[in-house]
């Protein structure tokens, strides 16, 4: 019975991080969004530098989301969230790597 209702009870009762961690996460994610925006809008860096900066910010953003909002460290065994994360990383690498590989014909065409 009790195990069955976890889905409903979690919503109100148990704590999922403090207000402080949420605020910190929120500030981080805003800052990480503003940095690339400012760089692109003002043309502060050259093209390669801009692309690399945006990518770094994106990865940091992902980490912030996972730790401050997705609570990747919490949860009981079995560690479904870690398993899902591993599959997710594989898929993301496939998407990015696969796209670069497939679309690289474009550079030879142009």
């Amino acid at each position: 019975m009790s195990q069955h209702n976890t889905g409903h009870e979690h919503a109100s009762g148990e704590s999922h991080g403090s207000l402080k961690s949420y605020v910190i996460g929120f500030i981080f994610s805003i800052v990480l969004t503003i940095i690339p925006l400012v760089i692109v809008m003002n043309g502060l860096l050259n093209k390669t530098q801009t692309v690399i900066t945006i990518m770094i910010m994106a990865v940091l953003q992902l980490i912030v989301q996972l730790f401050f909002f997705m609570h990747i460290r919490e949860g009981e065994k079995p560690r479904w969230n870690v398993m899902t994360l591993i599959v997710g990383i594989i898929i993301v690498l496939t998407i990015v790597g696969g796209s670069i590989w497939i679309m690289s014909f474009n550079s030879t065409v142009q």
Partner: protein
């Protein structure tokens, strides 16, 4: 003033085609009829309380089912329109642009608004019952998913009477779908219809993943779980990883159209090929999303009607999980001809052939399950038996298409059309229909008439081959897809016309099959054989252990599971004379109904409609409404209640009294 209104109306409403006017009239009449019936029988509050605000997975499943059957009708009418246009050379039945709109909506509706909701219907109707659970993990989210899907579907369907249908193909490839080539609102309808329902699909994937991982009855280890639930798990995993790709891709296309970005345009650094690459990263896993649950259904049906345990349970589980991972590594086979390097094509050709292996394993497992079983040919079994040869041929032609050099010949020909219809109709539609016939008595408490069902099956099955076998030949003869007409020279001299005519006859046979099914349902509602036992087929899994239709809380007492095929074990124990443990009821914790999912989805609809027409005065209030609904839900704490023991006792006594 009057001129302005007339001007607005002539662009706002689709005009000029008598077919559209006919549709306008029938939509108006149907709406009036529905409003009249609801008002006359004073059913508005009933509709609101029992259906619109419900969070009960069984009711949500029924609503998904109704919606998907309606969409099957619409997509089917689209198909028949196309086949009529192609029946003979130089047909003047549809205009070229109308034909483009029809094949676009046919594809989009059949995959996203027919197959997906029919699949979610089966998820909802079956999974919690199979797991011995009282509801899904997130009942509120479940309701929200349904209403988002429905609003997205309605938005998409609206396009053919208001504003104009999308007509850039079912995947809406740029540059054709960009503003430069499709300046109308049709593509906006496409984007927003799919985006809104896509949120719902993603949420359903998450919901069922958590339900399966967390809500199984005590003792039901993962490897004791029924195979349909396993198939839902693998399908949900793909949904979770594939749908975000679709959302992002369409969002980028929207930015192109709405804000003048250049992700996929022809100029200023845009690259339309990137869209093709991205959309198929969703598109290919999507076909496995819809076909895996069909595999699960066949596994249940074959085991039940062969009176045997499924052959090779472990290999079934393993092959499904393998499919769900490998399905992410095959997407480029949809565009072998794009001109990527030979290495790319080789990789994706091989991965495509590899994914055929676990599928083949499953086919053999079903055959071995039937081998020396005591087979009864019921309707679900009939569809399963129809599926096996059909899917085997479809799979074989799929492997032919996977050969990259040969694909340069098949690409975008009718050979491809015949192939994917064979796996989608033969696999997905036959599978879901088998599932619907199988679980129908559990959901509604009566069986569907056998005689009419057999007519429907044979019409569908024969119609299918008559329709699509000629299309393989047409593909070899050089007929390409999306062709709206052909001359009498190609028609008669090259022999396209006779084959097209035969194909059209087949399509209408399937249409007739659908009419038989409508007849079958309406006949069986009145006269179908009632299911008083709760276990009409001699089932093996937990859903058959409770009365049909299931009471609101599903299981009065939580089932204790010790083996796979849990209900079969209980029945065996009873036959041996082992008494079940005495029943002791406890109060049951249930979620409360909520209007927020419906209201929020309506707000999404308003926002979507505003974005379609670029009306910010409408889109922004819609989005504000969505935000208010999110806040309202976040701050509502009174979301659950307990069903007291005496109420359970009364319900059970009434149900079981009927049962015994």
């Amino acid at each position: 003033m009057w001129e302005n209104i007339k001007d607005f109306a002539s662009t706002f409403f689709v005009t000029g085609d008598p077919l559209i006017y006919g549709a306008d009239v029938s939509i108006a009449l149907t709406s009036i009829a529905i409003v009249f019936v609801l008002t006359y029988f004073k059913k508005w509050t009933w509709l609101w309380r029992e259906w619109i605000t419900t969070v009960d997975h069984k009711r949500i499943g029924i609503m998904y089912l109704i919606a998907s059957l309606l969409m099957l009708f619409r997509g089917g009418v689209d198909a028949l329109l196309m086949r009529t246009q192609l029946a003979l050379p130089n047909m003047k039945f549809l205009q070229a642009d109308h034909y483009n709109a029809v094949f676009t909506t046919h594809g989009t509706i059949m995959i996203l608004f027919m197959a997906m909701p029919m699949m979610f219907a089966l998820f909802n109707l079956v999974v919690p019952l199979q797991l011995g659970a009282r509801d899904v993990a997130y009942p509120f989210l479940n309701s929200l998913s349904f209403w988002l899907f429905l609003m997205g579907a309605m938005l998409f369907n609206l396009s053919f009477v208001i504003g104009g249908s999308p007509d850039a193909g079912w995947l809406s490839y740029p540059p054709l779908s960009e503003l430069s080539h499709s300046p109308g609102v049709g593509e906006n309808f496409y984007i927003w219809g799919i985006q809104i329902s896509g949120i719902g699909s993603l949420a359903t994937g998450i919901n069922f993943l958590v339900t399966i991982l967390k809500m199984r009855a005590p003792g039901m280890k993962m490897m004791k779980m029924p195979l349909f639930s396993w198939s839902v798990l693998s399908s949900s995993i793909i949904i979770i990883f594939a749908f975000p790709i679709l959302t992002v891709t369409l969002a980028l296309l929207f930015l192109d159209r709405f804000l003048g970005a250049h992700f996929f345009t022809m100029d200023l650094g845009g690259n339309p090929m990137m869209y093709v690459n991205l959309i198929w990263m969703w598109g290919h896993p999507e076909v496995y999303i819809v076909v895996l649950p069909a595999f699960g259904i066949f596994s249940e049906v074959v085991a039940t009607f062969s009176k045997k345990k499924i052959f090779g349970y472990n290999s079934m589980v393993f092959s499904m999980m393998l499919i769900s991972i490998v399905s992410f590594f095959t997407w480029a086979h949809h565009f072998f001809t794009m001109g990527a390097s030979a290495n790319v094509n080789v990789f994706f050709a091989i991965s495509t052939m590899v994914i055929g292996i676990p599928t083949g394993v499953k086919i053999f497992n079903w055959l071995f399950t039937m081998f020396r079983g005591r087979i009864t040919i019921t309707q679900p079994m009939l569809w399963t038996l129809g599926f096996i040869p059909c899917f085997a041929v479809g799979g074989a032609t799929g492997v032919m298409l996977a050969v990259a050099p040969a694909d340069y010949q098949y690409h975008n020909s009718y050979f491809l059309i015949a192939h994917f219809h064979q796996v989608l109709i033969g696999g997905v539609v036959f599978g879901y229909l088998a599932g619907i016939y199988y679980w129908w008595p559990k959901v509604f408490g009566f069986k569907l008439n056998d005689r009419l069902g057999k007519w429907a099956f044979w019409l569908w099955n024969i119609g299918f081959y008559v329709c699509f076998m000629p299309q393989y030949a047409l593909g070899f003869m050089g007929m390409t897809r999306r062709l709206y007409t052909y001359g009498s020279d190609t028609g008669w001299d090259l022999g396209w016309a006779p084959l097209n005519l035969i194909s059209t006859v087949g399509a209408f046979l399937m249409g007739l099959g659908f009419i038989f099914q409508v007849w079958q349902i309406s006949y069986s509602i009145r006269k179908g054989e009632r299911d008083l036992t709760g276990d009409p087929w001699g089932g093996r899994t937990l859903e058959w252990s409770i009365p049909s239709p299931a009471p609101m809380y599903n299981f009065a007492v939580e089932p204790q599971v010790t083996t796979d095929d849990a209900w079969w074990k209980v029945k065996e124990d009873r036959a041996k004379g082992i008494k079940p443990a005495p029943v002791k009821y406890e109060p049951i914790h249930m979620p409360k109904n909520s209007a927020i999912p419906f209201v929020m989805s309506v707000c999404w609809f308003i926002a979507g409609f505003g974005f379609v027409f670029d009306w910010m005065w409408m889109a922004i209030p819609g989005l504000i409404g969505v935000a208010i609904c999110l806040l309202a839900r976040s701050f509502s704490y009174d979301t659950d209640y307990y069903i007291p023991v005496d109420e359970i006792e009364r319900t059970e006594a009434a149900l079981r009294g009927r049962t015994v």
